[in-house]
Assembly symmetry: C2
DNA sequence: TATTGTTATACTCTATAACTATA
DNA sequence: TATAGTTATAGAGTATAACAATA
């Protein structure tokens, strides 16, 4: 058994545990000064990253959840004027979800809180380490998602 | 806005999204040949890492959840002979939770699946990059958890 | 007939509150 | 009075199934 690998996996698990706890989310929305639940934040920040209108199905795939989940939260966020739904001109079955100015603002605030946490945590790091982390973590995210898609597509035996 | 930092955070978010989806867990337990839900796996692997009996409260703190959650899953796992509860000789309010051989086996199988995923994803990497990832991710987990503990302890204003 | 999205429903995970027993 | 754990309850988050409208 590879000791180095095991440290990698264990560090990753610790990070996921920390990020996923409810108190962490509470802190994000409090610091951001918004009133949103976790799926709300995920959807808004997904759209902020996309920087253009997205279908419900695309959001669901991006967040890796089922579409009814997205539908419901989109409906609630629309009522709060944080996003708008416009019919896709090319396919009248589909809707394009777009952030309103208020939605952009809310998404940016949430995004900024977590980014600042990382920035603070990395504040004491040498520049070279920060650059390496950025490169390696990006590569890991790519490789792991590609690998898991392959694994998952095989389906149960 | 720091481009490098933003890439780090975004890569991290992608990783968390992938790891958290239900299908990923289904795949883990299927590949491991066990019949456990997500909290079960978390508790068993926590105990495997600890390598010694732990109190309910310690498990809850380690997983960063509330203790009633741990209590319930421990009770179910005990009935399935995957762990045992013995009274703490020094404090009769407390229980020490320990893995049985079957529990160790189940925990090891689950752990091995995810470790193998990482190993496969990193298979094409240069040795130096793998070593750097291990070092930097470990450091990040430490620094971020220390930083967030500080932030969280301040409490709402 | 396949696909996009919605509605309705149910399940999983986790938190909060109230309680018991020991310290 | 404070702490460890449990029981009971409620809520958040997400999946599945059945359906509508369009392609």
């Amino acid at each position: 058994m590879d000791e180095e690998l095991s440290r990698t996996v264990s560090a990753f698990r610790r990070l996921v545990t920390t990020i996923n706890r409810a108190k962490t989310h509470d802190r994000i929305v409090e610091a951001a000064g918004v009133h949103l639940d976790r799926p709300d934040v995920q959807i808004l920040t997904y759209l902020l990253d996309a920087a253009q209108p997205r279908r419900v199905g695309a959001i669901a795939e991006g967040l890796q959840v089922e579409s009814p989940h997205v539908t419901r939260h989109v409906a609630l966020l629309e009522r709060r004027d944080l996003l708008v739904r416009v019919q896709d001109p090319d396919d009248r079955r589909a809707w394009l979800i777009d952030l309103t100015p208020a939605g952009i603002d809310a998404a940016r605030r949430c995004r900024e809180v977590t980014t600042t946490w990382f920035a603070d945590a990395l504040a004491g790091w040498p520049d070279a380490d920060r650059a390496e982390l950025s490169r390696l973590l990006g590569q890991l995210a790519d490789d792991l998602s590609v690998h898991l898609q392959g694994v998952l597509k095989c389906g149960p035996s």
